[in-house]
């Protein structure tokens, strides 16, 4: 029997374990439709805010060795505009990423999506380069607890928290999120980083500091998934430098039930989803697995 690559992240059922990571290509329903057709199991939107945000001036994204450095600044058309844009959605598995500073930001945005077909929300509590949101929220366990609790009580669909490496212990963010009743964790966001041009002696990104993504952060992300999975009974989505089927399997063995793909689009473009899906399927066949679930966290037994 051919192995099935469908997977389940808590209550979220996915036909395929490869999701589009937030921040990547996610501003039009047409692009989502295309990526879904190309093999993505779910599409996470750009992080949406209450109001439209223009983001930072360029340079906002550059290549560095083994990855990308970005400080796009969470540019997005705002939750109301976005909800309207995807309101006709019937078949595409969309997860809406939200960013905000206080509970009211999130409850306002959830209201916009009340009648829109989406799989769930992913709360971006880990963007490393925008003030008053993202990691600045994620680093404050009390605030995280308040926001998650409020979002959970207002949302009719599963809620995921995306964590990253800030100035406090990210496992504390995971712990309070679990306590507040979160459905799953995405780990990790980009890692705070920067690049300086030696000729002009200037930081290259307009925001100077940004987030590092791609192969450079993969071992860090695998470690985080492994730690979370070892300490908490919570479904995990692995994110950080997934660019091959081996990477995806590695995350699954560390404890994640699905993976998110972002930077790999830069090298491999949209064919990356089917490439990884096919690789996972072949690996499972070779190793005698019939379901993704059988592999999740199996590296922990050693």
């Amino acid at each position: 029997m051919k192995p099935g690559i469908s997977t389940q992240v808590g209550a979220i059922k996915l036909e395929r374990p490869t999701m589009l990571a937030s921040g990547i290509l996610g501003i039009s329903l047409d692009v989502f439709a295309r990526l879904y057709k190309e093999g993505a199991g779910a599409l996470v939107t750009k992080s949406l805010s209450k109001e439209p945000w223009e983001g930072y001036a360029n340079p906002t994204l550059i290549g560095v060795k083994a990855g990308y450095l970005n400080a796009v600044g969470l540019s997005n058309p705002g939750a109301p505009y976005f909800a309207k844009m995807i309101s006709s959605n019937k078949t595409i598995p969309i997860i809406v990423s939200l960013v905000g500073s206080v509970e009211e930001d999130f409850t306002f945005m959830i209201k916009q999506f009340e009648n829109v077909k989406i799989l769930g929300y992913e709360l971006n509590l880990s963007c490393p380069h925008v003030a008053k949101v993202g990691l600045e929220v994620g680093d404050d366990p009390e605030l995280v607890h308040k926001i998650v609790k409020s979002v959970k009580s207002h949302s009719k669909v599963p809620v995921i928290v995306k964590v990253g490496l800030g100035s406090s212990d990210y496992l504390e963010t995971v712990r309070v999120s679990c306590e507040a009743g979160i459905d799953a964790i995405t780990a990790i966001n980009t890692v705070r980083a920067m690049a300086i041009d030696v000729e002009t002696a200037r930081p290259i990104l307009s925001n100077k500091i940004g987030g590092l993504s791609g192969p450079a952060i993969k071992p860090i992300a695998v470690r985080c998934v492994y730690e979370i999975s070892s300490k908490f009974d919570i479904p995990i989505i692995g994110c950080g430098g997934v660019s091959s089927w081996e990477d995806a399997i590695e995350f699954i063995l560390a404890g994640s039930s699905a993976v998110q793909i972002g930077s790999a689009l830069g090298d491999k473009w949209i064919g990356v989803f089917s490439e990884i899906n096919n690789g996972i399927s072949k690996y499972m066949e070779k190793k005698g697995f019939t379901k993704i679930k059988e592999m999740v966290g199996s590296a922990k037994r050693f």
Binding site: G23, E54, G55, N58, T60, V64, V72, D197, I204, S206
Partner: protein, 270 residues
């Protein structure tokens, strides 16, 4: 050390050419950008200001490339004001390019949209018969006429300037002149780059005559390499799937010719 194409490589401006009172061409040495394909672009970093997608202009000097910029917004004006000896950063090239056809070719450009078309001229065969239409508002804004004639000196060719106020060349819109040319000559291919409304009309006119046509599109860009999604036009990304698209596809795309996205990703009308 191998060049990292996605990280800005800093180059020194060696020459500044005044094309018109509001348009300048900045020349610099760069082996990679000197040899890009017509339609490809680079992300150009103006240190401390911004970074812009720019079609790479031809330099007739070996291993040199250039950018032709009109002073317009904050970023383009800062680039326009760069002096000889100052630095800019370049990354890329990115994007696809025009398919090179042979025979009777018609190129229709407006303003700095002529940049990829001038580069296209350097890829044509000597046996091609080439017509270049250059649109401008007024006489003082016509540029690259000499450059086009020079590149095409061994081809059967005509370079026609068209000014809206009739102060130079033919009077009217380039698309009016194009319509007349299409009724006289059977072209084998049409290429266009310039304001989107103009390109939309060019693509429509060529399609009515069943002539294969391609346009090189421009959109607000952040990453330039298919990651941020800012430049999407329906399901395609201008930076990665384009900049060049076939007429057949463009006419099926409901955003082409009508809307573009702002920095927040909200659709705005042209």
């Amino acid at each position: 050390m191998q060049r990292d194409f996605d990280k800005p490589t800093v180059v020194k401006i060696e020459k500044v050419i005044e094309e018109t009172p509001t348009v300048r061409t900045l020349v610099f040495s760069d082996k990679v950008l000197a040899n890009v394909l017509p339609g490809q672009f680079a992300m150009v970093w103006i240190p401390g200001i911004n970074e812009l997608p720019m079609s790479v202009m031809v330099s007739l000097e070996k291993e040199k490339a250039a950018f032709t910029v009109r002073e317009h917004g904050v970023a383009s004006t800062a680039l326009y004001d760069i002096k000889v000896g100052e630095y800019i950063g370049v990354r890329g090239p990115y994007g696809n390019s025009f398919s090179i056809k042979q025979g009777k070719l018609l190129l229709v450009g407006g303003g700095t949209g002529l940049v990829p078309l001038i580069r296209l001229l350097t890829f044509l065969k000597k046996t091609d018969e080439v017509t270049v239409l250059m649109g401008a508002k007024t006489k003082g804004e016509v540029f690259f006429e000499k450059m086009a004639n020079h590149i095409l000196e061994n081809n059967k060719h005509q370079v026609i300037a068209v000014t809206e106020d009739g102060s130079y060349g033919k009077a009217g819109l380039v698309t009016d002149v194009m319509e007349r040319l299409l009724s006289e000559t059977k072209f084998d291919a049409v290429y266009t780059c310039g304001p989107e409304k103009m390109m939309h009309k060019v693509i429509q006119l060529a399609s009515e005559k069943k002539i294969p046509a391609q346009a090189s599109l421009e959109r607000m860009m952040k990453c330039g390499m298919g990651i941020c999604g800012s430049c999407c036009v329906e399901e395609v990304l201008v930076c990665r799937d384009g900049t060049v698209f076939d007429s057949e596809y463009l006419l099926s795309n409901k955003e082409f010719g009508y809307t573009h996205r702002n920095k927040a990703g909200i659709l705005e009308n042209y």
